[in-house]
Structure formats: C-alpha cells, structure tokens
C-alpha cells in the first residue's frame, strides 16, 4: 500500500475505522491488527469501488465486513478470551470514561447489532445502513429501536 493512498484515502476516514474496530476488539493489540487488516482490504479493493456510493460508505462496508470476518475467525479458533477486570481497566480504549462504558455495552450486543448501532450513531441513514448490511431499511429501523432498548438496559445506572 502506498503511503499516498493511506494519507489521502484512508486517514481522512480513519475515525470511522477506529470507532468500528474498537467495538469488535478488547485489547490494543487486537485493535491494531483489525485496523491494519481493514486498511489493507480497503487498499486491495480500491479498484472494485464504483462511484455509485460515497467513499465513506465503502469504507464502512469494508470495515464492518473485515471486523465480522476476523471476529468469526478468532471465535472459531478459540482465540477470544474472557478479560479480567484488571485487564479491562488496562485495555481501556478511551480517555472519556462515559465512552468506555458505552463501548462496553455495545460490545455485549450481537456482532451484526454492533455494526448497525455504530452506523446509526455515525448518522448514516437507514437506507445507507441497509445498503451496507444487506438488510432492508424497514428491518434496520426495527432493529435500531430494539438495539437502543437493549443498550438502555445495559447502561442503566452506569452513566450519570
């Protein structure tokens, strides 16, 4: 991957990649692996990008696909591990404590639900989320409502 491509096409959208990868990983090491694999796949699939959608939508799609694939692979290989409370404190991804709590709640959702809520929080429309996930916009609307209710329960009493 050329540095130019990384600087011009990935760095401006790195926030998207970071936010999604953080939700699928529990340690800095895994996060970096996921981030790197996403960048690599974006670069490899750059020629397949047809300008029917926005470049950022393309990045969302690849990021989500890579995270889902890697999570599936690590579960299959039995690499996923239960972290102790000390490790969780050490592995805190963000300086903002509320954000850490929100992420912990998001991580408890199913793999696909994680992706959907992240895309929603990033202000993607139902139609865009549907095109990224392959579901229908109606289905997305229903799912978002359900996920938010679930998050509400998970966050109850944890955030002032």
């Amino acid at each position: 991957m050329s540095n130019d491509f990384y600087k011009t096409s990935i760095i401006p959208h790195a926030g998207i990649i970071i936010k999604i990868c953080r939700a699928y990983t529990d340690s800095q090491e895994d996060f970096e692996d996921y981030y790197q694999e996403v960048c690599l796949q974006i670069w490899k699939s750059r020629n397949a990008f047809q300008e029917k959608s926005k470049w950022s939508t393309w990045i969302y799609r690849i990021t989500l696909n890579v995270c889902l694939t890697l999570t599936k692979k690590s579960k299959k290989k039995g690499f996923s591990k239960e972290f102790t409370s000390e490790e969780i404190t050490k592995n805190k991804a963000f300086e903002n404590e509320d954000l850490n709590i929100l992420y912990e709640a998001i991580k408890k959702l199913s793999e696909l639900d994680k992706g959907i809520i992240l895309l929603h929080l990033e202000e993607n429309s139902h139609r865009e989320i549907a095109s990224i996930t392959g579901l229908t916009p109606n289905n997305i609307a229903v799912k978002i409502n359900r996920i938010k209710k679930q998050l509400k329960i998970l966050l109850d009493g944890k955030i002032n």
């Binding site: 790195a14 981030y35 790197q36 694999e37 509400k152």
Partner: protein
Amino acid sequence: MEKSINDLWTKGFENSNELTTPKTMSFYNQKSKLLLEKIKKTYQTDNKSLIPIAILFAIGFSIAGHILLGIYGMLIIISLFFFNRKLLINLENVHITANNYDYLIAYKKSIHKVISATYKLVGFGLPTVLLIGFWLYFRNTNSYLGFVNEFSSLKLTLLFLIVGSFISLAGIAIYKIANNTLYGKHLKELDSIIVDLKSIK
C-alpha cells in the same frame, strides 16, 4: 436515553485524542506470521506422512516375498524424512529481524532453497533409487537374466540412462505438480505480501 446514547457518542469523540491512528508499518506482521505458520505446518504434515508410507512399503513388500526390497524402500523413505527435516530446520533458523520485509525475503529465499534441493534430489536421486529398486525386484527372475545376457554392456548402460532420464523427468513433473498443489497458494500469498510491503517501504 435515546438522546443520551447519541450525545455520549458525539461528546465522547469531541476530543481528537480518542481517534489516534495506530502506526501503519506493522500492517503485515500478524498476516505474515500466520502465513509462515501455515507453510511450516503443511511442510511438517507432508513430511510426517512419509513415516506410515515407509512402514506400509516394508510390510507390503515383505508380505509379497521381497523383504530386501521392502527394507530398502523403507530406509530410502526414512532417509527422505530426515533429509526434509533438516531442510525444515534450516527454514526455522531464518532469523526474525525487526524488519518484516527483510524477514519475509529471507524466508522466501530459504523456501526456494528447499524447493531447489528437492528438485535435485528428485532429478538425480530418484532414478538411482528406483533403478536399484527394480534390480532388487527382478534380479533373480529369468526375464532379468535373459535381458542382461541379450544386451551388451554399452546397450545396457544406454538403456539405464534413457530409463533413468525418463524417471527423472517424470519425478520432476510430479514434484512440480505436488508442490504447486500443496504450497502454490501460500507462496503466491507470500509474494503478494512482499510486494505490498515493498510499496509501503
């Protein structure tokens, strides 16, 4: 709470420190590690499969009344096992350097050394081993004795050379196919990572 989740999200990322990108140069570390593990594992499994083959060879020919040939074949196959194991140790001795690109280049060179050594073994060793095997199998038969008496030494030598060359070429072709089937995909992947890493440098 619905608004709170969105607020938490937006406010949480107001601080730009939260979105610091990781360093990019270690891009391929995990990927290359996994690939090299795959190559090593395939090589090990491939080599270990020689042991049961050697045992079956010995048992099969002994039952058929060719004990000497059975033992000969078994010894040859076991020697091949140790030969491959030595080559594998060479692969494991490639020193991991801080630079992933240099490491992969060194590893690729070692793999090619292994392949080249095996080509030589198949090209020169296989005809010799098989011709001795044929001799062990047919040496006491009437057809063999008649055959030897019928041809002059020169003609026999020529015949052995022709048959030997044929075995050598056939062996090389078979090894090439087997090598492509077992390792072709991994080696292509290795090449692709090296090309990618070169472009990052």
